[in-house]
């Protein structure tokens, strides 16, 4: 697996050379767009980060987790990973920190640890993806897209907890 991406990059460059494409100019022309792209993403990132950090600093995230733990337990999600399921759509780095906490507290090979791993692996930071994807468009109303994505991540989490019991 370690070789796939590096080989791919080299292969593209070599193929460009074979096809007599001005590889150097093509690379620079493409790379130039990255600055504009990351600039247009920046304000959206700032908004998301303010929300996540305020949630964390105020302790509201712990409170919300306690409120939501019982309904999640009905779905088979153990209370130890509810915080991960709830925060995952908002922050990638924050949920990685929670995952490390779970490993430290319960062990990476425990049922809870494996649940948390699969939940992390099969989900995405929905709100982050939404803010970044639509940053360069005129889209203001996203309709069903975000609810559907959130539901899929929840479904993935419930499936993860069920699957870890039998696998």
């Amino acid at each position: 697996m370690n070789y796939v991406v590096p080989c791919l990059i080299v292969a593209v460059l070599v193929y460009g050379l074979v096809r007599r494409v001005p590889v150097y100019n093509a690379f620079v022309d493409g790379a130039r767009k990255s600055f504009d792209l990351s600039l247009s993403i920046f304000p959206y990132l700032a908004a998301i980060f303010i929300m996540v950090n305020a949630l964390h600093a105020s302790g509201l995230d712990v409170y919300v987790t306690q409120v939501f733990a019982p309904p999640f337990q009905l779905l088979g999600v153990p209370s130890e990973v509810v915080q991960l399921v709830l925060l995952r759509p908002f922050t990638g780095s924050g949920s990685l920190a929670i995952l490390s906490d779970v490993y430290a507290k319960y062990g990476a090979d425990s049922y809870v640890g494996r649940c948390a791993s699969v939940i992390m692996g099969s989900s995405e930071t929905v709100f982050y993806v939404a803010s970044v994807y639509f940053a360069k468009t005129s889209v203001r109303r996203t309709g069903w897209a975000i609810p559907i994505a959130l539901f899929c991540n929840l479904l993935g989490a419930v499936a993860a907890c069920a699957l870890c019991k039998i696998m």
Binding site: Y103, G121, T137, V139, R140, C152
Partner: protein, 184 residues
């Protein structure tokens, strides 16, 4: 997004003001500088991938890729405009190869091609849901963390992870079909 963000942020900031009023402004400012650092990091990553993508485009590799994936694309998106189809294929390939960093710039390019109005179109929603349902096949970061935490077999989550991911992604595609109908 307007309602969700405003409600959560206002509630969190109000709670923080009640608990620790001196820290409100510094939390906000730190978040903004964190966002700036993050955006610069993304700029570096996108720089590499957009450069490589452009080389691949100029030697017609991307067009071959989108011909290869044309059946899948037709099923999911209907008749796409050629440039949009190219970026969608690039996005799909990046996801399947597990290069999440490369998936983002191609998805942004595809969505910019598809969206003209202020309401998200069916195909935009499909692309977003596929990417937001966590299509990454091999969770390299998680496996690395488990190994570091002393797991006996860090990659034994691969199979349940694959099933959970596939389930979420399939449900997402089905729900987009249910909410928006078939591709035109």
């Amino acid at each position: 997004m307007n309602i969700i963000w405003t409600v959560i942020t206002a509630a969190a900031l109000a709670a923080l003001t009640a608990v620790d009023p001196q820290n409100v402004l510094s939390v906000c400012l730190n978040s903004c500088s964190q966002a700036l650092t993050y955006a610069l990091g993304l700029c570096a990553v996108y720089c590499l991938w957009l450069g490589v993508f452009n080389v691949a485009e100029r030697c017609n590799l991307v067009q071959s890729l989108s011909r290869l994936l044309s059946r899948v694309n037709k099923l999911l998106y209907g008749n796409l405009q050629q440039t949009a189809a190219d970026y969608v294929s690039l996005n799909m390939a990046s996801n399947l190869l597990g290069v999440g960093n490369a998936a983002t710039p191609s998805a942004i390019a595809a969505i910019s091609q598809m969206e003209r109005g202020d309401k998200l179109s069916r195909n935009g929603a499909m692309l977003f849901v596929i990417n937001a349902a966590g299509v990454q096949l091999i969770p390299t970061t998680v496996i690395g963390l488990r190994a570091a935490a002393g797991s006996a077999n860090p990659s034994d989550i691969l199979l349940p992870n694959l099933i959970a991911t596939a389930l979420g992604c399939a449900a997402g595609i089905a729900l987009v079909f249910a909410a928006y109908g078939r591709a035109k």
